[in-house]
Symmetry: C2
Subunit: 531 residues, 2 copies
Amino acid sequence: MITLTAAQLIAGQPSRAGSAPFQGVNPRTRTRLDPVFVNATADEIDRAVIAAQAAYEQTRRFSAHRIADFLDRVADEIEALGDQLLEVADTETGLGIPRLTGERGRTTGQLRKFGALLREGSYVDAIIDPAQPDRKPLPRVDIRRMLFPIGPVAVFSASNFPFAFSVAGGDTASAFAAGCPVVVKAHPSHPATSELFAHAVNRAIEAADFPAGFFSLVQGDAIDVGQALVKQPGIMAVAFTGSLRGGRALFDSAAQRPVPIPVYAEMGSINPLVVLLDALAQRGDQIAQGLVNSVTLGAGQFCTNPGLVFLVDGLHTDDFVQTVTAKMAEAVPGVLLNANVERGLALVVDQTLAQPDVELLTGGGTVEGVPYCYTNTVMQTTSAAFRANPDLQHEHFGPVTLIVRCASEADLLTTLDVLQGNLTASLHATAGEIDAAAPLLDRLREKVGRVIWNDFPTGVEVGHAMQHGGPYPATTAPHTTSVGMTAIRRFLRPVAFQDVPDALLPDALKDANPLGIWRTVDDQLTRAPLG
Amino acid sequence: MITLTAAQLIAGQPSRAGSAPFQGVNPRTRTRLDPVFVNATADEIDRAVIAAQAAYEQTRRFSAHRIADFLDRVADEIEALGDQLLEVADTETGLGIPRLTGERGRTTGQLRKFGALLREGSYVDAIIDPAQPDRKPLPRVDIRRMLFPIGPVAVFSASNFPFAFSVAGGDTASAFAAGCPVVVKAHPSHPATSELFAHAVNRAIEAADFPAGFFSLVQGDAIDVGQALVKQPGIMAVAFTGSLRGGRALFDSAAQRPVPIPVYAEMGSINPLVVLLDALAQRGDQIAQGLVNSVTLGAGQFCTNPGLVFLVDGLHTDDFVQTVTAKMAEAVPGVLLNANVERGLALVVDQTLAQPDVELLTGGGTVEGVPYCYTNTVMQTTSAAFRANPDLQHEHFGPVTLIVRCASEADLLTTLDVLQGNLTASLHATAGEIDAAAPLLDRLREKVGRVIWNDFPTGVEVGHAMQHGGPYPATTAPHTTSVGMTAIRRFLRPVAFQDVPDALLPDALKDANPLGIWRTVDDQLTRAPLG
């Protein structure tokens, strides 16, 4: 059992210089939880970043294998936290032990997958254009480039994934994998869970003999803690998962720095789902059940929650809407993460219901007598109303979906045109509807980071091919992903070496290819050494 | 011979709605050149972007081979402009026919190289994680991702490369290669050259049966033309080559848009050059000559101009400084591009000379009676002064370099620590100095996009491995390059497909791999078809 310090953990050392207190809250009982944490001070944030810079001077030279071993160790230390982690997290988030157990597996799994990526080694994207001394009119110099870490990274934890998108989640894992020290700003709704994770990381740092400044944890529920971190000149990139408002505020601050830095913010998404007529006819009930499961999973608190359903009017459309409505009304509403989520959700549903041509089919209110809970909610509108009103594309972060009724497939295609950026889009169709689906898929592809066929967007596979991103407002950096192995690229930048002697080249670029990695040599992929 | 319209070319059609005139100027004679151009209006800019959006709906679906053929045709049409292009450009820029002939070859060469990249096809970075229906505890879905174009791009031309970084230069070539329509804001100091290039592009568009809106040219010497273009909601990315002030202004505007977009600005760089003692002893004169050639090439108007020279005090250091100074004084100062360059250069050299501990060794003034010309200039300062004063890292855009005298290699290493971001760093050393060079190279690598051994930074090879970029203020996007084949990545973003039927997948992701490209399948690079 770990005894919580309720302090910031600056390069492994507890620090509690601040005086502005905050506490976690049990969302099932609305009771405040001990211990009482305090907001990090500007000085503590400075110290964390300065320690990260010092650590970076070592870790930027560490071999990929050494970092891989460290990532494995972090995963081991998370597992070693045992039931304490699950119980503390369940008390702070109300997400339940089964879900948290699964999320822990995902979190340790992605750390180990980044380890495997590093051991394979080709992620440094080595490209070599060998010299051509006899080229006319001018000889060609030898140019070799590869990716290097960018420096200390600030990671902002999400409320809804206390493990997988938090202290040692995907952002931290990919920054670590790149060789970048991380300063985490924990989410204020699970400070104790965050501290447990921080101890696990610090134990791995000690075991792997990494510099202590490779990781620091700062806590706080005030906006200025995060702002101070982003403004600190030693921070070279920011990763964030959360609301559009929060992400945009950090993006704006980072862009206004004397030296601007990238902000990889994964923010609002309403994840349109399209169901074609034949699919509705052949398996309407199955799709309805899948949709309700996906909307209500984790009380709808997923960035991939399908918050928007496009239907074409036909023989079975009303039945489908009734089935979805009935199943949503029947399902027991889940516990929301915190008071802010509940308040924000009630506000934005009320705003949507106040728009012209929006009809409430079920739900639409908080649950009497139950803390932090909102009824499973279905609203409906017309394609014309949706096209005319961008306010119908606001995210409802909770168990809420908005059905958009289209008169025809042509009307549907026109309506998809006004969609803003999203993380995902899902299309349900039968084999006989492939031709009808093609232009829809093509249109959706322009709007999102991931297109899904006959399935639901919740459940994001952590693999090499995963793209968890999308055009604004889904993210501030649509060319990047926050899930999957290519997430490491956010924290790397290329450097080219011109005519540098082999002895001074990094291993990945040496003639002999001592790492045995794939390299692009004269535009040909090869693992062979240079002639 | 092409007759100039002196109009904007919106989707191939001349438009001259504006009334604010501007003209090119012959920098050799300071005489205004005909015809008189006008600033594009906000309406013209809107029309150009709307046409680009319409074109994008077609070109985003074009095959890589079709775009490759188009790029070849653009190169052919540029060559078909013949001597008219060289003569008009020489009159507008004073760069001279030999230099412009070389730059034309580079410009057509890079268009054709992007064509070759497209035909090879692997640039789409296809990654496939096949389904694992039997995986426990949950089956794995099939996920496949690749890169797609991001949409219409605004390109801002540079003054100093009227061909290679202008209307059909590297930014336009790489955006075209990605399938993205381009609206170019031409540089006001070579409007006629820009129009000639635009005609070449438009002829290629016609010949290749591309949509006319794939390319538009807008002209202007007022800041609001560029600002209106960046603020136009249909623009999805911006590429810029020019001054720190100009690039930062566009970056700020783009970041403040309701939907922020990336700005790939390549801006100020002073390109530190380090000469170690043994190299000085063994080939000091040769290095001095190379340095002077590099500083005075094109009147020093290169983003890779070596504007900063670090020397360690030793037996030959004073001799070297004297040699450099004498050679700089002897060399005939070149013609500067325009009045702004001359004025700006005089101002910033005066500012530098007003700093403590800065000594003028030669030059430091405009050339009496010669228009747009500044004396070849050498200044000197101490390592302590350099460390203490960030104002000594301002770019002098012209034939100017600042020598920084260091007491020892240790002093040098400490001094390099305060360097801001740069495009390049060069290190001159002998085989016997490899050990001394290692920590210096390691330090420089953190500050730049390209490290050069025993050579000079001017002359940027256009190849697969080139990295022309670097930390701010060299660029606003250090993870990207504006020269070389990977420049295409700035205009692409990944999209993943989950369980999508083969018939609906793009060719690059189909089971059979009909394009025969390299793909990462289950983390293994292969050209083989699936299963």
